[in-house]
């Protein structure tokens, strides 16, 4: 059942499909089909998409979906944001056709919405993903997946328990040269990989701190904070710069680590594992609201198989070999990773919407009987999500992979916060032997924004 026209399938099978899904067969239908209120699929077999968070990356996702809408692939039926200016702009971009919402829970109440794209600040990702899963919506959620260990576990439970297709926005895994690098490594061309060293430039510091103030009229500050403990507004919280705060972003290790280390877990086939120890050293800003480390080095030790992952800011940057291509394509060499095997090494540059690797991997021809690695259709991360929704197969950055990656980011910051090396049980997904650090695996949410 790889390819099937959904409308004809619905007409032929109707309720039988619901039973099949309940029995554990692939989820091939939009989530609303499973609801009691379902009557007819929407026009032209399109998924009805709602966007929660339409600024920054959210604006990019909306633009992508509107392009798909113009080709008849999807319907963008709703947009949602806590900033009225951003919301108004988003509505305008849909030609005034999408229904605007401030509170995402109105979106989740709509039975005709099949899937949501969540591109809110990080501290909202878990709640909104869990709630979307619980209301039967398929989910594309921006990276990093979660801010705490408890949040990540709840996301996995919600996706599995409700049979929801989740794609986490670490789109590097879907890129062509990521596929080629993965294929090269998986086929043993650099031997057994023992070390992966990432490099990344520094996290910004708040060098011009400002006092708390009244929030701007267009912003619902309470809803922006959501699950975070209440505090007065400060304009250093948003927009975009939330990512430099540990509780709502977590610095470059979370913002870009969720790309570069996502690729590392993917290439090492380690989504279902985790480190046994995490040790961080870092330089924290001496002033300002932003508290994420400016520079940091995190060492993750994996066992069975044994390998070491190092997240380093700044680390040792490797210049891309083709300087003309750097200029032509605007390659952001400021981050990437080197994979060290017992036979050779391989460099992978950037890691998000851009991924580049060495010629030897690009030109490598997989031998007959060689190892196949996952490949997103048309090297398109959203397309991979759509295929996951329609076929029931795992997305390339499924919730387990997204959470495993986010856990690396979270644990790296936690080691810095408590100022000591942490021991981690990758099977139980728990910090061990350190009660105080263990409590930081969760951060209870402000009512009513609970998981």
């Amino acid at each position: 059942m790889n390819r099937i026209h959904r409308r004809s399938f619905l007409q032929r099978t109707g309720a039988a499909a619901i039973g099949a899904t309940a029995l554990g067969l692939p989820q091939i239908l939009p989530a609303r089909v499973l609801g009691a209120s379902y009557t007819q699929p929407s026009a032209k077999d399109r998924l009805n998409i709602a966007h929660i968070g339409v600024g920054g990356m959210g604006g990019g996702h909306l633009g992508y979906m509107l392009a798909r809408q113009s080709r008849g692939d999807v319907n963008v039926v709703a947009v949602c944001d806590v900033d009225e200016n951003r919301l108004a702009s988003a509505v305008k971009s849909t030609g005034g056709k999408a229904t605007p919402y401030r509170d995402y829970r109105y979106v989740l109440e709509r039975k005709d919405v099949d899937a949501v794209v969540i591109a809110t600040p990080d501290h909202w990702h878990a709640c909104q993903t869990v709630h979307a899963c619980q209301t039967g919506k398929h989910v594309y959620v921006e990276k990093p997946a979660c801010c705490t260990i408890e949040e990540g576990k709840a996301m996995v439970r919600a996706a599995r328990g409700n049979r929801i297709c989740v794609q986490v926005g670490s789109q590097g895994r879907s890129q062509r040269e990521a596929f080629l690098a993965h294929q090269y490594i998986a086929n043993g061309m650099i031997g057994k990989v023992h070390t992966v060293k990432c490099w990344h430039y520094a996290t910004p510091s708040d060098d011009n701190p400002v006092p708390d103030s009244e929030p701007p009229a267009e912003l619902d500050w309470d809803l922006w904070l959501g699950p975070l403990p209440w505090r007065p507004y400060n304009r250093r919280y948003l927009h975009g710069v939330f990512r430099w705060l540990l509780e709502s972003g977590g610095g470059q290790i979370r913002d870009r680590g969720a790309h570069v280390m996502s690729n590392a877990l993917h290439f090492m086939d380690a989504d279902r594992t985790g480190p046994v120890s995490v040790e961080t050293k870092g330089r924290i800003p001496t002033r300002g609201l932003w508290d994420s480390a400016i520079d940091m080095e995190v060492t993750y030790q994996f066992k069975d198989p044994d390998w070491t992952l190092v997240w380093a800011q700044p680390g040792e940057m490797v210049p891309y070999f083709d300087r003309d291509r750097v200029k032509r394509e605007g390659i952001r060499e400021g981050y990437g990773a080197v994979y060290y095997g017992d036979k050779d090494k391989l460099v992978v540059w950037v890691g998000d919407g851009q991924v580049y690797t060495e010629k030897k991997a690009v030109e490598f021809q997989k031998p007959a009987g060689g190892v196949d690695v996952p490949k997103s259709p048309r090297f398109d991360h959203h397309e991979d999500w759509f295929e996951g929704i329609k076929t029931g197969r795992k997305t390339i950055m499924n919730i387990e992979g997204g959470v495993a990656t986010a856990f690396l980011c979270v644990l790296g910051n936690l080691s810095l916060i408590v100022g000591r090396k942490l021991a981690w049980d990758p099977m139980r997904q728990e910090i061990v032997g350190d009660e105080a650090a263990r409590r930081l695996m969760s951060r209870p949410q402000r009512f009513p924004y609970a998981l």
């Binding site: 009225e84 919301l87 108004a88 509505v91 305008k92 030609g95 005034g96 056709k97 999408a98 229904t99 605007p100 919402y101 401030r102 509170d103 995402y104 829970r105 109105y106 989740l108 109440e109 709640c127 709630h131 619980q134 209301t135 701190p209 006092p211 708390d212 619902d220 809803l223 403990p229 209440w230 924290i284 800003p285 001496t286 002033r287 300002g288 609201l289 508290d291 916060i417 408590v418 100022g419 000591r420 032997g433 350190d434 009660e435 105080a436 650090a437 409590r439 930081l440 969760s442 951060r443 209870p444 949410q445 402000r446 009512f447 009513p448 924004y449 609970a450 998981l451």
Partner: protein
């Protein structure tokens, strides 16, 4: 002879304790002076290195949290975090208990921001001894939501009992929040269903079509 030896040893202990107290006081005074510096090159390293100064610095730092210079107040708050997290390290139980005791005292501080910060810090390093004082804040309108969250994080039946016990006298709306905490801890609660999926905030933006 034996008595003389015992007295000498006791005197040495007292002298040592006095010296330690003096050293503590000097370290605290030095920390507070640096935290109050307007120069972040002085203040920053001070709060970042505050951990080992420990429990004696908690109350003085809490006073600096009211400083009108927002960066100084923030530095004091962060210094308390450093102290709590340093004291929470494995094998440092006496230090943790000492910090816990100081944080408990802050739960009755006149500044709500201090009470709020103390209860969150106790969520990291507090044990059964802290639960009662933390639970008292469930009746504090300014801080009760933070106290609820903080107690939710503290393991053990005492915290569960405290959350359940607060249901009786709590304002009706807050009972929903307490019920959420109890359910998060695996408890069964009659009534007060979750409101997490109930939308309440309307936008003024209109669709144009």
């Amino acid at each position: 002879m034996k008595t003389e030896t015992t007295l000498t040893a006791a005197a040495a202990v007292l002298t040592g304790a006095a010296s330690a107290a003096a050293a503590d006081a000097a370290a605290v005074n030095d920390l507070i002076a640096k935290i109050k510096s307007a120069d972040d090159a002085v203040r920053g390293p001070a709060w970042q290195g505050a951990g080992p100064v420990g429990a004696p610095a908690v109350a003085p730092l809490a006073e600096v949290m009211s400083d009108p210079h927002f960066e100084i107040a923030r530095s004091a708050k962060r210094a308390i975090e450093k102290i709590a997290r340093h004291a929470g390290r494995p094998g440092a139980n006496p230090e943790r208990k000492a910090v816990e005791a100081e944080l408990i005292k802050l739960l009755s501080h006149s500044n709500a921001n201090v009470r709020r910060h103390a209860v969150w810090m106790l969520s990291e390093v507090g044990d059964a001894a802290a639960v009662g004082p933390m639970a008292a804040l469930l009746a504090d309108a300014e801080v009760r939501e933070d106290a609820r969250c903080a107690l939710t994080r503290v393991p053990g039946s005492q915290a569960t009992d405290a959350l359940r016990g607060a249901m009786d006298g709590a304002p009706e709306e807050f009972k929903y929040a307490l019920a959420e905490s109890l359910r998060a801890r695996g408890e069964t609660v009659a009534g007060y269903p979750s409101k997490k999926l109930v939308p309440v905030k309307q936008t003024s933006v209109k669709a144009e079509a």
